[in-house]
């Protein structure tokens, strides 16, 4: 696997990794922001498997995020206490996790937060991924919102009021330590996701996904069982998005159905937007898009509070209308040689513009 990484790339990877390891310690006040930066990148690169590589624009990946969040927190609590009483009594005041219980619960919870969304993706995949184009987009939009509304009606996980995730155990260090712990956990998840997807994109799998995007009927006619690949792709996304959801639940500490877990208006749109902003169908596009978007979002959300949705709406329109190919597409247009595309000087001269 390492053989397909060339020398120039290694410097980029080391640079990013060094930044991710050093920067949060230098700017330790912003460690939570760095954590969310990584989460957003994870959401964007997993969305890219559907939206970018496969051409299936989903608004429904947010469901896996929310399910992961609820599953992780419920298992963390349910392993040691009565979940119903926890939500009724406001949780953390009556029941206290010891550090051992906390970490056991966290590992098991995260495992389940990855597996259960993947199973859901597998089960509904056959029905939903058979839809094409805008029918798929609207159907997944419906799934995302319906899951939020359903979670808002289930009593045991706190219904509309939401529930609290288990608080950080008191005796092993304060909030600083907690933030540091979750930052490195998120970083580990990010590295895992990125390496896995990088490997995935070097296999035949990516070619099949691209074939589906370019012409699904033709891909089927070539003998590819497209449904199997589509479901596999969705299961992979669900796995990592669920894990990210489980982590976010613990970082935020408070889980609410419509505003935190199944937040189609924030995270659900963000992942689409970041991916398009960076450039669909590339490995680095979503990473760049998420980074740019995170900077934009943090500055707007903190300095123009109340106007953030106006800004978001305008941003969506501007990106969709004026930058549909994203930053990577723009660069590819201007500097094709950066992408290994060789253009003869004679060809360039021979180009004629029709206007």
């Amino acid at each position: 696997m390492l053989s397909n990484i060339n020398k120039k790339d290694i410097f980029i990877y080391l640079g990013v990794l060094a930044f991710a390891l050093i920067a949060p310690n230098v700017f330790s006040d912003y460690r939570i922001q760095f954590t969310f930066w990584l989460i957003l990148i994870i959401l964007a690169i997993t969305w890219n498997i559907q939206g970018g590589e496969m051409g299936y624009n989903t608004f429904g990946n947010i469901m896996f995020f929310g399910v992961g969040m609820y599953v992780c927190a419920s298992i963390q609590i349910g392993m040691f206490f009565d979940l119903g009483q926890w939500t009724v009594s406001g949780g953390e005041k009556t029941f206290i996790h010891t550090p051992d219980q906390y970490f056991q619960g966290l590992w098991v919870g995260l495992l389940a937060a990855a597996i259960i969304p993947a199973i859901i993706a597998f089960v509904i995949g056959y029905g939903v991924l058979g839809l094409r184009g805008h029918y798929f987009a609207i159907c997944t939009l419906g799934i995302g919102i319906a899951s939020g509304e359903l979670a808002g009606g289930i009593e045991i996980i706190g219904a509309g009021q939401g529930m609290t995730a288990p608080p950080w155990p008191k005796d092993i260090g304060g909030t600083e330590y907690r933030n540091e712990f979750f930052y490195y956990l998120t970083l580990a998840l990010f590295v895992m996701t990125f390496v896995f997807i990088k490997w995935l994109y070097s296999t035949r799998f990516r070619l099949v996904l691209n074939a589906i995007r370019d012409n699904e009927d033709k891909a089927e006619a070539m003998g590819i069982e497209t449904m199997r690949y589509k479901i596999t792709g969705w299961v992979i996304s669900a796995f990592f998005v669920g894990l990210a959801g489980g982590l976010v639940g613990n970082i935020v500490g408070y889980i609410e159905p419509v505003e935190v877990a199944f937040d189609g208006r924030e995270m659900g749109v963000f992942m689409v937007l970041m991916c398009i902003l960076g450039g669909k169908g590339t490995l680095w596009g979503p990473v760049i898009g998420a980074s740019v978007f995170h900077i934009f979002k943090e500055s707007f959300w903190s300095y123009f509070l109340g106007w953030q949705y106006v800004a978001l709406g305008v941003l969506i329109i501007v990106i969709v209308v004026y930058l549909p190919e994203g930053i990577m597409g723009f660069l590819r247009d201007k500097k094709p040689e950066w992408f290994g595309e060789v253009m003869d000087e004679e060809d360039r001269k021979a180009q004629v513009t029709l206007d």
């Binding site: 058979g130 839809l131 209308v321």
Partner: protein
């Protein structure tokens, strides 16, 4: 959950009547959606926000001491210009792109409008009182607010006016020609750009009528637009584009479904049931269509 509806069968009549009256309103919104989908090939996620904004126009009249029923006249006029404005600013740039582009762009418009309405009218649930009174049927066991009857009557009238306009007027003919074949219409001298703008404006005006009626019969809130979009999308895919009786029937069917879901599952699952029905319809449609694509084994 005590299923009240089984203990008192008269509630079935109540749910049916409520559902039909509600469904006529949904059908009006869906007709606008079908219009722009058929003519411009865009799916407008901001449809529900246009409806709610139309409702707030009526509410604005009500706040200034004018009877909200006049909103039925004022609101479409205001919304027509809002629609033209949205078209000129955004929609004309996405008309010829693929459908997902228009879905995402109108999603952006929807978020923007939601927040603007939140700024202007606050995040409270509001209602414009019409004081039309109530009609009692079957020994006072079925109650029908007159405002709902008024709303359905106005919806039917609006739909009839629109159908006649599309059949008789010059612009209506141009719109229908563009829907059939935009290129051919352009060659034959139809200003398609203008047709698109008017189509979007007419759709917004329809939403304005529906919104004004919703303001007097139900409640308004800046964030409840999306369910209306989803309902109209659902009605259009069940009925098919350009099938007017189908739109009316499936609208009423959806209204009845919602009222029964409300009684059987509880009000907290009402919106969830709408979205789940959307998913079910789409998946059912997918399997129905897939039957005609068979493989050689």
């Amino acid at each position: 959950m005590d299923l009240l509806i089984f203990e008192h069968p008269i509630l079935i009549v109540q749910a049916l009547m409520d559902g039909v009256l509600l469904g006529i309103l949904f059908a009006l919104i869906a007709y606008g959606m079908a219009l722009q989908w058929g003519v411009m090939n865009i799916i407008n996620i901001a449809q529900g926000e246009l409806v709610i904004m139309g409702g707030y126009v009526a509410y604005f009249l009500y706040m200034n001491g004018i009877h909200p029923a006049f909103g039925v006249i004022v609101s479409p006029i205001v919304m027509y210009f809002v629609g033209i404005g949205i078209y000129k600013l955004v929609i004309n740039k996405v008309v010829d792109k693929d459908l997902f582009t228009s879905i995402l762009a109108t999603f952006g418009i929807s978020i923007l409008m939601m927040q603007l309405m939140n700024f202007m009218f606050g995040a409270d649930v509001v209602v414009a009182q019409s004081n039309f009174g109530t009609t009692m049927l079957f020994d006072n066991s079925v109650t029908l607010p007159n405002s709902k009857i008024f709303a359905s009557a106005i919806s039917v009238i609006a739909a009839i006016i629109l159908v006649l306009y599309m059949k008789k007027s010059k612009l209506g003919r141009a719109i229908r020609a563009t829907a059939q074949n935009a290129r051919a219409a352009k060659i034959l001298g139809v200003d398609t750009e203008k047709v698109y703008a008017s189509t979007f404006g007419i759709n917004a005006a329809l939403c304005g009528v529906a919104g004004a009626l919703i303001a007097i019969t139900f409640t308004l809130h800046p964030y409840v637009g999306l369910p209306y979009t989803v309902r109209s999308f659902m009605i259009v895919i069940v009925a098919g584009l350009g099938n007017l009786p189908g739109v009316a029937l499936s609208g009423m069917g959806l209204g009845v479904f919602e009222e029964f879901a409300d009684y059987l599952l509880g009000t907290e699952f009402r919106i969830a049931s709408v979205f789940l029905l959307l998913v079910l319809i789409l998946v059912y449609r997918r399997f129905k269509l897939a039957r005609s694509r068979e493989y050689l084994k």
